[in-house]
Amino acid sequence: MTEPAPRPVLVRGASLLGERTADLLLRDGVVAEVGERGSLAAGDARVVDADGLVALPGLVDLHTHLREPGREDAETVLTGSRAAAAGGFTAVLAMANTSPVTDTAEAAERVLDLGRAAGLVDVQPVGAVTHGLAGEELAELGLMARSRARVRVFSDDGRCVANARVMRRALEYVKAFGGVVSQHAQDPDLAGPASCCHEGELSGRLGLPGWPGVAEEVIVARDVMLARHAGSRVHVAHASTAGTVEVLRWARAQGIAVTAEVTPHHLLLTTDLLSGYDPTFKVNPPLRPDEDVEALRAALADGTIDAVATDHAPHARHDKEHAFVDAAFGMVGLETALPVVATTMVATGRMTWADVARTMSTTPAAIAGLAGHGAALVVGAPANLTLVDPTATRVVDRDASVSRSRNNPWHGRELTGAVRATVLRGRPTLLDGELVDPAVG
Amino acid sequence: MPTPQTPDDRDVPTVDAPADAPADAAGRVVLDARDISRVLTRISHEILERNKGPQDLVLLGIPTRGVGLARRIAARIAATEGVEVPVGALDVTFYRDDLRQQPTRGPQRTQVPPGGIDGRTVVLVDDVLFSGRTVRAALDAMNDLGRPEVVRLAVLVDRGHRQLPIRADHVGKNLPSARTERVMVRLEELDGRDEVRIAGPGEER
């Protein structure tokens, strides 16, 4: 697919990674020039005043649910792309648990094409590890890898690849094309489908089926050993416990090729939010206690956890309006991910904006093998970038979301840091906080 | 869950009659302890006279103060006739027609004497007769407890302003009053002294 060359953009006076202020001229999809503040001439370029804004390489989300095909009432590739652009993302990995499942080359290409048609963000399909997410037979991993979608990340997310033999084979097989298995770590015998509340005092009091941290930790521990044995790469999706962090730290010290992500909600929201049985806060893995949240923040700051990934999980309203144990798991997150990270990690001094660029762009792009993303903003780099107002505060209003769904756990919460602009290959998808429709822009 | 109220005055049948929680000195005394004693003695005699003796009598007091009055009447009958007339309590809370006009009220005890009320002459005893709605509720309540042969009504004070076709058989004192005035009955066993007061609407409680 060829895109018409967009009008050049001059980003005036942005603070690159919060470190030095510069002008950036974006032309023909790349960063054409970088100069001292005020040094670059606008010419025919559209000028974006970035005074006081931090420029980051375009954000990359390793973990998004776009629901299309199958649940277009909750989200579509287009509406999810809008949410991604509004959240500062230039690439998202679309999880495979759609209906039908993304477990064939054709299904992967369809998602890719839907993303290109939307044109707001690079939608990179994730392929299922096993056929139909059933955990039994490998999906056609190689064909998905060879397809136009060039699938490199495989995941049965929503379900754990629980069978050790299947997981071992998947890890071995993806070595042939540099793939990685992203594991939803949940031992189904320790945390079954009904498990919906962190197992602890609160689940005991509320009488909710517990989801113990150990159900995640035993799978992470098993998988790092399998990765070592297979000489392959494993990625831990939505790490949620201090125990997982300990295992990751140990595995890294052993030189095992393991990477891990944490969601914004696990960095800020805690299990006590479930005390009112509000399914808005029902997510898998569940919200954890303070100790886990603190361990995850520390691990993100020190690099034990590599990346922030949203696990954006839109749901139609009626799928959340059941009794708590019957309601759907998941919460939206694309539009709030950066503000949550800014609030919990940057405003608290635990991370710099360079760390944000690393954990929300560079490293996730590397894990996913997305060549055009995550590059430093230097001359010749792809013009994918995000401009953030680091001091803006806003109260999240779920009805102001551009996602199709409203299962927003941040509603009513004040967050610091706002995405002001997003640029995909030189073309703005978000300007002054407003989406730019590619058909018009 | 709402906390039910247990007001100590059961004869506050209309919204415009404020619940009584009077201060000591509000209004003026219309019956003092001696008056009350004399009046109850008379009522006791009237009851016996009307019934031609104590046979088959049952006294049912309407809580709270009607129960105390019923006991006193029974004591006087015992003194006169040497017969213990059965005394019980008949709470009317569940039968009130104004339940939905106010916060939930908790009931008081209903106690039917062991012999029951079937075929008996039941004298309902209350402190103040006003609108008649309490008595109406009492008649309904009694209907669910049994079938007396005769039901009569004895009250310490009849202050008028009836809203239902009900009259008392035995009245301690007819007390003309304005609707807005408050009549407060106090009994030794509950309030520390015997007296009946009447107070204007604006008077200090």
């Binding site: 009091r205 059941h322 | 039910p4 106010q102």
Partner: protein, 309 residues
């Protein structure tokens, strides 16, 4: 919006005392020939039961009828989720018929609390999953009080499948509010998760050893143990459970003849309670059922008799 009874948390000690006092009057009504009060005439109470429960449903139904409310039973097997309709839609549809109270039994913890946010009617929790069963706790307290007098300072021992018991959760709250000392006894696998912190904060004791606790009991409440729990590995066999935690003939002797025994039913005779114990003179099992109607009358009366607020 009217008030609800979703949890024992909704009532304080004074309110419990008032409810139980009203229940005493209701209990008298229950013994009369004409078992009918006009207090809730014109009110409509819907018993919405998503889970089978002959006992609780008929108890609420009789309670409503004796108070002259119009009572309607609606039973729905399985969760509404499996039928494609959201719980919110289900209850709003029913509430739209103009009901004053919804008595709801549902297999999911927290469902009554959720429903209360969705409808204008008063909501009474008749058992939500493994969370709470407040009317059961109130009737248990009533029954024990009738037998033992005030529960202040008395030692009540709860034994059984605590982790899956809504009766336990409601009772531990109710009994401690009334000043009773509570010891909860179960094998470790049937203790609620995090019970150490919970019991510390809520002021009750826990034990794995029934024989150590039993001699100090002023009352014993046996809770139902479902045989299906064995499949979950909660205990190895019915025989082993009974030896460890059943109220057996031998333990009945330890207890002495004056210590009341409660069981919310339905009983697994021979598993958690021996027939000798279930039928002993000190067993309050049938008193509990009888009190159930009176206490539920009191609950409905307190929620519905007064003005609309």
């Amino acid at each position: 919006m009217r008030r609800h009874l979703l949890s024992v948390d909704d009532v304080d000690a004074d309110e419990i005392a008032a409810l139980l006092a009203t229940a005493t009057e209701m209990h008298d009504v229950q013994r009369r020939q004409v078992k009918k009060l006009p207090a809730l005439r014109g009110r409509t109470v819907i018993n919405l039961f998503f889970e089978d429960s002959t006992r609780t449903r008929s108890s609420f139904e009789i309670a409503g009828k004796w108070l002259s409310a119009d009572t309607v039973n609606i039973t729905g097997k399985g969760s509404s989720a499996s039928k494609g309709e959201s719980l919110r839609d289900t209850v709003r549809t029913i509430a739209a018929m103009g009901v004053d109270a919804l008595v709801i039994r549902h297999g999911a913890s927290g469902s009554a609390q959720q429903v209360a946010q969705w409808v204008d009617a008063s909501v009474v929790n008749a058992g939500d999953g493994t969370h709470e069963h407040p009317s059961q706790a109130l009737l248990d307290a009533y029954t024990l009080q009738q037998r033992m007098g005030p529960l202040e300072g008395r030692h009540v021992v709860l034994v059984g499948d605590l982790t899956h018991s809504r009766v336990f959760r409601s009772n531990v709250k109710c009994l401690t509010k009334l000043g009773a000392e509570v010891t909860a006894v179960a094998p470790p696998t049937l203790m609620p998760s995090g019970v150490e912190a919970w019991s510390r904060e809520a002021g009750f004791a826990t034990s794995y050893d029934l024989d150590e606790v039993l001699p100090k009991a002023d009352a014993v409440m046996m809770l139902r143990v479902q045989r299906e729990r064995m499949a979950g590995g909660y205990f190895p066999s019915a025989r082993e459970y009974t030896v460890g935690y059943g109220l057996t003939r031998d333990r009945l002797d330890v207890l002495g003849p004056d210590v009341p025994i409660c069981h919310p039913g339905p009983m697994n005779r021979g598993l958690e309670i021996a027939a000798d114990a279930a039928d002993a003179a000190q067993s309050l099992v049938l008193d509990q059922v009888s009190a159930g109607v009176a206490v539920r009358m009191a609950i409905l009366y307190h929620l519905l008799a007064g003005e609309d607020s």
